[in-house]
């Protein structure tokens, strides 16, 4: 069976005055129907750009400079705008990070839901309204009828994120790309939203691409994990295995720095240093200046992502 989404050797560059800089460097992964995948990394690792690249919505001056994105068997990375538009919000939905900023403040919830449906389906307003109500119920929104007439500022952050999830469900998409969907929310709401997302994906057989820096969340929700560092995927494999038996020193460091992974009373481990900026990536393995295992080869050759143990792919010379 062909994958639902197959990203191959994706490279994204940003055209700056001082020259192009590479934000995503040869990223490959795939997502099967109904599969849930986590894309993990620090800020600036290129997770969000990867997500936006899939629906070709990278902020200017970014552009896809190499690679392919196959979705439902078709190569979509070079689709013209109007063809791409039929995929966005329809076959691939996106959930943004901050629900307070995502909805247009001057239009009602109903307006913003109905217009999305009408952009993709040739249906009447009342039909669209009925679907909107149905999806609001699906995300367990209390008194959904009332919400349609409300403006975003009348709702709390958690409610707004539920509405955005409902909007992303409107057209019954094949994939939802959720870019840090819970980062801007309270911890209690975070768990609710994540549970809801997971449940919906399971029940509706939707693929989920969860972009986050929170390994804890990823390990609960996803089946597969890709760890990104400085624009590259450096570890890729089943969530269970990666979380319990990580291969790449960076992943080991990340997992070691989560409270709960270590006996109470002991200091948390931390990875020394910071991730390099995109203009200043060290030669060889980008992680080498921070790596405990770094050897000469690490500064000379860029490691490729290859099968290591337990079905995990990792990009490291030393393992």
């Amino acid at each position: 069976m062909p994958s639902l989404l197959e990203v191959r050797d994706l490279e994204v560059k940003f055209a700056l005055r001082s020259g192009d800089i590479t934000a995503i460097d040869g990223v490959s992964f795939q997502l099967d129907p109904g599969e849930r995948m986590g894309l993990v990394g620090e800020s600036g690792a290129g997770k969000s750009v990867t997500g936006f690249a899939i629906i070709n919505l990278i902020s200017k001056p970014g552009y896809i400079s190499r690679g392919s994105i196959h979705f439902e068997g078709k190569e979509i990375s070079a689709y013209p705008p109007d063809k791409m538009r039929k995929i966005r919000g329809n076959r691939i939905s996106m959930i943004f990070q901050d629900p307070m900023m995502t909805l247009n403040p001057v239009y009602t919830i109903g307006f913003q839901m109905i217009e999305t449906l009408k952009a993709h389906r040739n249906i009447s307003k009342s039909q669209a309204r009925a679907i909107a109500l149905e999806k609001l119920k699906l995300v367990q929104m209390p008194s959904p009828e009332k919400r349609l007439a409300q403006y975003p500022h009348e709702l709390s952050g958690g409610m707004r994120q539920r509405i955005i999830i409902a909007i992303s469900l409107l057209a019954d998409p094949a994939i939802i790309i959720a870019d840090e969907p819970t980062t801007a929310l309270d911890v209690t709401i975070q768990a609710e939203i994540m549970d809801l997302l997971q449940e919906l994906c399971e029940n509706e057989k939707m693929g989920l691409m969860l972009i986050t820096h929170d390994l804890g969340v990823v390990s609960q929700v996803t089946e597969k994990i890709a760890v990104m560092y400085a624009g590259k995927i450096i570890e890729y494999g089943p969530t269970e295995t990666v979380v319990h038996h990580p291969v790449h020193p960076y992943t080991i460091g990340l997992i070691g720095s989560i409270p709960g992974s270590i006996e109470p009373g002991k200091d948390l481990k931390q990875i020394p240093g910071m991730m390099p900026t995109l203009t200043n990536i060290p030669p060889g393995c980008a992680f080498n200046p921070r790596c405990e295992l770094a050897a000469d080869i690490c500064t000379q050759q860029t490691p490729v992502l290859e099968e290591k143990q337990n079905g995990i792919m990792a990009a490291c010379h030393m393992k």
Binding site: R85, R88, G89, F96, D98, T102, A119, I164
Partner: protein, 328 residues
């Protein structure tokens, strides 16, 4: 919503009281109305009597109270010795010319600044955008009277296609002699073109730039990016989602600028010999008709306040967050 409107109107009344108080207070510094009335040859005792009779020796607040009372109950803002008519009547007869001038100018500004501002925001690198932006700098930096004289030279003197002064043919709008309008005759409209263009040169560039920068800012927001991610068409993203948010600050500025425009008509009316309130004001200054000056200032202030109140209420209709604050 109703509570919001009532509150705005109450605020407007307070503002009017303060403005009239300030205007009334400067009256004393402008000279002696008794001397203006009776001349030099009357004895000081007789002057005192006249001043007493006119209430000029009453305490300031009593005089001001009388002024407000007359203004509110009888619509009486005093009498102009220059025209020998009640001030309000003089002003009302001059108002239509100025209002039509401002309306025409506002029309030009709205019709041109909205599409141009939006276009410049969407296609900042295009040839038309660059031209508009540099031309608008020129517009801002040219004084109104210079633009006006240039326009007269080109269109009235050189090409002889438009009239250079006056309102041209006017007709009675309501049939009661109060509002003589130039908007309904070809000749009247022709006379309106040059004054309106010259008056708009000052505000038009401002609005193009304002709309452009607001729109550019809105286009960068998350909700616009989300609108794209929902798969909406560019038309819908730009004209429905971005445009309405762009308008919010623009409407506020527009309200203030319309008020300011009433003041700026002074120069335009002078150059084009436009028989409006600005022209009347200059005449009143020349002849030191103090009573008319005060009445004019009060009326212009009232216009300013009314326009701003209307705009604020309009804003409340467009921006849902204001409406909520008002009903709480």
């Amino acid at each position: 919503m109703i509570a919001f409107i009532i509150r705005r109107i109450l605020q407007a009344v307070v503002v009017m009281l303060v403005i009239s108080l300030v205007v009334f207070a400067i009256k004393k510094e402008f000279g002696d109305p008794v001397r203006d009335l009776v001349g030099e040859r009357v004895t000081p005792e007789e002057r005192e009597q006249i001043a007493d009779k006119m209430g000029l020796n009453d305490p300031f607040l009593v005089q001001y109270g009388r002024f407000v009372k007359n203004a509110v109950t009888k619509g009486d803002l005093g009498r102009s010795f220059l025209y020998n008519k009640p001030n309000l009547e003089v002003i009302v007869s001059h108002a239509p010319a100025t209002i039509e001038l401002v309306l025409g100018t506002a029309f030009i500004i709205i019709v041109l600044s909205l599409p141009l501002g939006v276009y410049c925001a969407l296609k900042p690198r295009s040839w038309l955008s660059r031209f508009t932006m540099s031309f608008s700098t020129l517009g801002v930096s040219m004084p109104v009277f210079l633009t006006a004289i240039l326009l007269i030279y080109l269109f009235a003197v050189h090409w002889r296609i438009l009239p250079s002064y006056g309102r041209g043919e006017t007709v009675d709008l309501f049939g009661n002699g109060i509002w003589m309008t130039g908007l309904l005759t070809i000749d009247g409209l022709k006379h309106l073109i040059l004054p309106c263009i010259s008056l708009s040169t000052l505000m038009l560039p401002l609005f193009i730039r304002l709309i452009r920068s607001e729109m550019m800012e809105v286009l960068e927001t998350e909700y616009i990016k989300y609108a794209w991610a929902k798969g909406l068409s560019p038309r819908r993203v730009w004209l429905v989602h971005a445009f309405k948010n762009t308008l919010l600050p623009v409407i506020t500025v527009f309200g203030v600028q319309i008020g300011i425009m009433f003041a700026f008509t002074l120069l335009t009316e002078l150059v084009f010999q436009w028989p409006g309130m600005g022209f009347m004001f200059l005449e009143a200054v020349n002849r030191a008709d103090l009573s008319l000056l005060i009445a004019y200032l009060v009326v212009v202030a009232a216009l300013f306040v009314v326009v701003n109140t209307v705009v604020d209420i309009l804003y409340g209709f467009i921006n849902p967050t204001v409406r909520i604050a008002g009903t709480k």
